[in-house]
Symmetry: none
Subunit: 262 residues, 2 copies
DNA sequence: TTTTAATAATTGGTAATACATATTGGTCAA
DNA sequence: TTGACCAATATGTATTACCAATTATTAAAA
């Protein structure tokens, strides 16, 4: 209850800092990104600029952001990725790790989720639907928000951090991105339905059903990943073929002046 | 900067917070003492009230002071900083995160484990038995090796990394250490049996049983943690009582010369 | 093309003010 | 004397408005 969100009598800077912390965790401001200027934040959160400054200082002391005078406030990475070489991970590994961990998080969240968080989830779902309708396929913010809210509802900070970390890694993998776009393009509505199913199990506080729903969701993601990886493989072969053909023709054209040396 | 007290180009709130930190460390404001009001501090340090507020918030986030609305700012004990420091996780959180993740890792390992890895596990178990017999209670190397082999057998590098990371964190928590020592001292053989049970389920390639066995193992760790935490709490109360008694006797001795004025 | 100066954007910091809450002290009645 | 209530005071909370200092961007000049 010490860290619970009894926001009524809490001081404003704490309330704001909590919200900004969630925004940071949800990937709204990835590491290195510049946050909006103080004045804009003060409008967004409906508080004065000094209060925003206080919240930013709190985040700064927590080591989550860095303030550069005259330039802006920048998000730092929250999870010290020591000798963690994210580039070496395959998208399948990441997804497998995520399915294991996030399914358990969902199961736990089924018993810890508050009404406010359920409302947040519905909001994220709504955003997802809007993104889907508007044809915005590149954005994953609503998706990430959805998963982030579930993670936060467990109130287990190491777990939140781990989930966030895995998302950060996968966000940098191009295969994941194309797979995500592909699944949005071909089965957008189905994907929405999966998220809604998860939401419903959480509403019912059915931890077993939540685990299953989350697993189903990921298993579809994994399928999409397999499919697009296959497509990419075919595409790659074709590209290499074309490249070879082009180089061959180029070499013939330039042969009289200078041979290619690469 | 035109101000004479130019300490590099650091921001004012940091400069002030450093000074106040020094004052706290020097015992100028012992634990529980009330700091001067904001208005007075702003005069003393020659800065405006908002800046003083910023410095106080920094100290608050660092867990050095506590602010009570309408009453004042109070110094806290420099060690008892568990309020909101996100870097420091509670041992319960860590253990909860581990039980979720490592149980799934065990379930996965049940199908991926090789014969060589099973042999390694048996070796780790043997080491654990030897450690237990020799009365070496502080070492956790065999325990860690056991869990590490299971993690590695999943061949999922992100998962391995996460498990490693959580172990690194918990290894630095004193509560975990004492709990581990306690469980080794009181129920060493039972702990060995739990590990053997996990090993057996992996030999049988029974992923469900592996998950359950791992959960059981952790649930016992959690119990031990609860117990030792309780013991520590009792110890703390006893210590404080003794401290008070000592102080009381001192005041009686000094009463003839000077009455205590607190 | 590179360098430099002007301009805009952004954080840094202060002052004055109003408000909310906790503490204090005093009055009055039982 | 004791207890309860109430008003005054002290203290933190938060806002608005303003200007200064620093950095980033752009345009002009060499």
């Amino acid at each position: 209850m010490s860290t619970a969100s009894g926001k009524k009598n809490q001081r404003t800077y704490r309330r704001v800092a909590q919200k900004m912390l969630k925004a940071l965790d949800s990937g709204q401001f990835p590491a290195g990104a510049r946050l909006p200027p103080e004045r804009e934040l003060s409008e967004r959160y409906g508080v004065s600029r000094p209060t925003i400054r206080e919240a930013i200082i709190a985040l700064e002391v927590m080591g989550r952001v860095e303030v550069q005078t005259g330039s802006g406030v920048y998000a730092l990475k929250s999870f010290q990725t020591k000798s963690d070489n994210p580039r070496e991970y395959s998208p399948f590994e990441i997804t497998e790790a995520r399915v294991l961990i996030e399914s358990e998080a969902a199961a736990l969240a089924a018993s810890t989720m508050t009404e406010a968080e359920l409302t947040e989830l519905e909001g994220a779902l709504k955003e997802m639907i809007e993104e889907n309708d508007s044809g915005n396929l590149t954005s994953e913010v609503a998706d990430r928000k959805f998963h982030s809210v579930i993670a936060h509802s467990t109130q287990n900070r190491p777990l939140i951090n781990v989930i966030q970390h895995l998302w950060d890694i996968q966000a940098n993998l191009p295969e994941i991105k194309t797979a995500h776009q592909s699944v949005c393009r071909t089965d957008g509505s189905k994907r929405i339905e999966e998220h809604r199913a998860i939401l419903n199990t959480l509403k019912d506080r059915d931890c077993h059903a939540a685990r299953v729903a989350m697993r189903n969701h990921f298993s579809r993601s994994l399928d999409a990943l397999h499919t697009t990886t296959e497509e990419r493989a075919v595409e790659e072969v074709r590209r290499q073929l074309n490249e070879r053909r082009e180089r061959f023709s180029l070499s013939r054209i330039q042969y009289t002046s200078k041979p290619e040396s690469i």
